[in-house]
């Protein structure tokens, strides 16, 4: 280590948040004075390349776009949930129920969570947190095509990596995914030819 101030301290000095003793160091250290001058040059260059009015306009446009996206998502989520409710009612009223044998040999789903160095099966009341690694073990009574996707509380739909896939009978350990930051409550939906499985993954 050297006895020079850290970049953090020089940056603080350059914006007027000087540390005690730094001034004295700068008086005798040309290298650090050069760094301060370089930061000032960077500041001038940035302001020349992207003057404040243009920067502010860019940030405002980005902010407006984010607001529009959020509004659209809220509307889509509300619409989607409405459609889902109608479909569920229709399914109960119209569709014949699956034969008992088919219900009995439904798919088996287990979710494993990797947190730090620990891997554990996610309990029924388990919660996830940002950064957790998730892997799904899917046991199928017979080979079939399976779709998996996540729907989060903001209405964002993310297909499980790999999209729709043909899986053999027996246990299948699928590839892993990482819970995004910030963590948002989500539902894992697994659909096969004959069955549909949902598992809520609430955040801690």
């Amino acid at each position: 280590m050297t006895d020079h101030p850290r970049p953090l301290d020089l940056e603080a000095y350059s914006v007027g948040e000087a540390l005690p003793g730094l001034e004295a160091h700068l008086e005798r250290c040309a290298a650090c004075r050069d760094q301060i001058a370089a930061i000032e040059r960077e500041r001038q260059a940035l302001l020349a390349r992207l003057p404040p009015p243009r920067f502010i306009a860019g940030v405002a446009a980005r902010r407006a776009a984010a607001d529009r996206r959020a509004r659209r998502l809220r509307a889509a989520t509300a619409g989607g949930l409405g459609a889902l409710a109608i479909a569920a009612v229709a399914a109960v009223l119209v569709l014949p129920s699956a034969p008992a044998a088919m219900r009995a040999k439904g798919i088996g789903v287990e979710i494993f969570v990797k947190r730090g160095d620990l891997v554990a099966s996610l309990r029924a009341d388990g919660r996830v947190r940002a950064g957790d690694g998730l892997r799904v073990s899917l046991t199928l009574p017979e080979a079939q095509r399976v779709s998996l996707w996540f729907v989060d509380a903001h209405g964002r739909v993310d297909p499980y990596p790999g999209g729709m896939r043909e899986l053999p009978a027996g246990p299948n350990l699928l590839s892993g995914v990482t819970v995004d930051r910030p963590c948002v409550d989500m539902v894992l939906i697994i659909a096969t030819r004959d069955a549909r499985f949902e598992r809520t993954l609430p955040c801690e």
Partner: protein, 170 residues
Amino acid sequence: MPSELTDQEIAAIYEQFGAVLLRRCRRLLGDGPAAEDALHEAFVKIWRYGASYREASSRLSWLYRAVDRVCFDALAARARRGEQPIAGEVESLEPPRDRVEDWQLVRLFLHRLDERLQRVAVLHWVDEMTQDEIARATGWSRQTVCKKLEQLRDRAARLAARLRAQESWV
């Protein structure tokens, strides 16, 4: 006082701090468009949630934290897309050379750490703070900070071994 910052306040922050905040973005994300993108995104958040900025004892520290969070999200998004930081990016970082390798590895799993540990990593590898300073900044004891840094180094070493073996959880 309004909870949001005004246009004038945002402009003043940009004029005074924009360049050092961009430097910070580059340290965390590397040179390139991602850093400037993160700067814009950080200002969206600063604008919207910046009321506490007015009362901050160190405005620069407050802004750094806001920028850090945006950069962590960008690193997480980068990981989701399966991108790895470009090896050459590390040249744009400023930590002393003997720390670079650790930081390069830590950056690969930074997005998976909880917020406090992310902060510890950045304070240590990016800001070069001492363990005492990190303890003061995070509210953890020096002993805990020391333990956490050891864990991060171990994790970096394990990641290095895993990368060498070309194994990956995700």
